[in-house]
Symmetry: C2
Subunit: 354 residues, 2 copies
């Protein structure tokens, strides 16, 4: 069977019918890449798997939810979708709306949107409005706009988004032929941890003996950690722009995922995120966006704390939510610069040292 | 069966053995997305399929060849790989070398490398040298360096690259359950048209009744069209940096693919490329890099010329070789800019017009 996107694959587990027009870019079916060098590098003797959601069509996990949200919007006769976004949601909404042939309006916070993501929204023909406020203010505006005008809201408070996103948990279970013991992941607006937990619970309910429930380990950026601090953050700050969110829409369900699973929601600093970002690219060949690396940063933090007992029997899934190409500026700013050299063999050999 | 990369899937058709250490990032298995709106938009009544190679792990088709080249390099005991690159090859070589735990040295031409690609090479820990010359000069240098020093050359003159890349043709055949009638694709260093043709010929040989040979339709950028002009171009120029190559390494085999298939190698202007780049993003939700859009630009050109007789029975595969996120600067420079607006409902409604 040729893979044709997650709605076709998981139709029976999703709120779709034969009447739903499937708007798909063949999202999902992303690889669960076994880490080859990371365990040694981190002094950890369990197994680490990288769920590389950057291999979705627009380069982030948002496509999973968006194929559902836009398909359902079209089914309901909607002619336009709207969202607030730190970048990935707008890229995905714009792409699926383009494919559906409907309008897309996106509100982005001033200044702090990564270049790759901005290029996507504009190329896919969305109406992109940069507001003089942060993500949380943008989200409040689109909620109000979609309640007053014929615009379908496609942020993760749209319940179809969560339904699409839960399929990533299904894929991990199928790939491992069991659940992971722990899942490490970024937490921003908190829709994704909510979605994974829903997916794991569904597989557990269907086959409890095969699919135990993993502990959900979510990580916020230290400057943008409302759930960890226990209150909204008025001015969230972090280089991990995708999770620069001070008042998560799915706050409560994220806490439920944490508490029901016996996991944690904790924070990592920007320095820890950038270090993890570099390590996973340089040791595994997997280039994720900075926010994604908060999962790896969290894992490093917990390994160092001695959190894992009997680690050799442990399977860990780390969710890498977006591709590194989403934010090339942050990568280049934090990496060794290319060296300029004359086009001569001897000059090159002098540098590379043979 | 969980997909684990193209070497595992096509092991029997590739020069690998049980002794080959498989260095994989689960490349390949990219979608063949049926165009939903493009035929109407272009006034064409055949079927158009987009082979979106941007969904490979490093965002381009180069990963197909690199999993082979790096696996074989490691099998042969190599401790370092080297390549010349306009960007995509270096990103891929750096990623696979990182995963293999060996060194990677890349020579890039001065100035004209897209930001995304540069960010990849540096993040994956390659030694990146920017030479004061163009791609063709860089290629000559790495050929000489690899002949004199213990460095494995991983440009497409490495025959394992072509072997890996031919699997994209297999996938198209399997996906359509037949061959396409025409394949439109970019031509730069010309290794990819060589590889696809090899793949199609292999499937044709195995099952000639099922897999007829498609016509290979290759497109160079007008300012960088040596095969079309019939002589090397000393100073190739084009915004499509991935195909800014004046003296293709696989020139002869590209001409063979053209002539054996009854196809063409033609050129498209930068303006035609940028227009096609915008059209495919805005009508299908598929964002490719500018060089990739030369396939769509070529298709548009040939539709306008009335090239297709009985188009309603025609199936066309367009190869989109890399992700648009590879070159966000070109996209942003050529797209409508976001509008700045106050965080007020009435200001937003004034712009979006409800």
């Amino acid at each position: 069977m040729v893979y044709k996107g997650l709605i076709e694959k998981y139709r029976e587990n999703l709120p779709v019918s034969d009447k739903t027009p499937v708007i798909s870019l063949h999202e999902g079916n992303t690889p669960l890449i076994p880490a080859r060098n990371l365990p040694d590098k981190l002094g950890f003797n369990g197994e680490i798997y990288l769920k590389f959601e950057g291999m979705n069509p627009t380069g982030s996990f948002k496509d999973r939810g968006m194929t559902m949200a836009v398909s359902k919007a079209v089914e309901d006769g909607s002619k336009a979708v709207i969202c607030a976004s730190t970048g990935n949601t707008s890229a995905s909404a714009a792409a699926y709306a383009a494919r559906a042939g409907i309008k897309c309006i996106v509100l982005i916070p001033e200044g702090k949107i990564a270049l790759g993501k901005l290029s996507q929204a504009v190329m896919h023909g969305a109406e992109v409005l940069e507001i003089d406020g942060n993500f949380d203010e943008a989200l409040n505006l689109v909620k109000e706009l979609s309640s007053k005008y014929p615009l379908t809201l496609v942020n993760s408070i749209n319940p179809f988004r969560i339904e699409g996103q839960k399929t990533a948990a299904y894929e991990i279970c199928e790939n491992l032929e069991q659940s992971p013991d722990y899942q490490f992941m970024p937490v921003g607006n908190a829709g994704n941890i909510t979605a994974y937990w829903k997916g794991y619970k569904e597989y557990n309910k269907a086959e409890p003996g095969k699919y135990a429930l993993p502990k959900m380990m979510g990580f916020q950026a230290a400057g943008s950690a409302p759930i960890v601090e226990g209150h909204p953050i008025a001015k969230p700050e972090t280089i991990a722009t995708a999770i620069r969110i001070g008042n998560p829409a799915s706050w409560k369900t994220a806490e439920e995922a944490r508490d029901e699973s016996g996991g944690v929601i904790d924070k990592v600093t920007d320095e820890e995120i950038l270090e993890a970002h570099r390590i996973v690219a340089a040791t595994e060949g997997v280039f994720c966006e900075p926010a994604s690396a908060s999962s790896i940063a969290g894992l490093i933090k917990y390994i160092k704390q001695g959190y894992f007992k009997n680690a050799n029997t442990v399977k860990i899934a780390c969710i890498l939510t977006g591709h590194g190409l989403k934010d090339p500026d942050t990568a280049v700013a934090n990496a060794v610069k290319p060296k300029k050299v004359k086009a001569e063999i001897k000059d090159i050999i002098n540098i590379i040292g043979f």
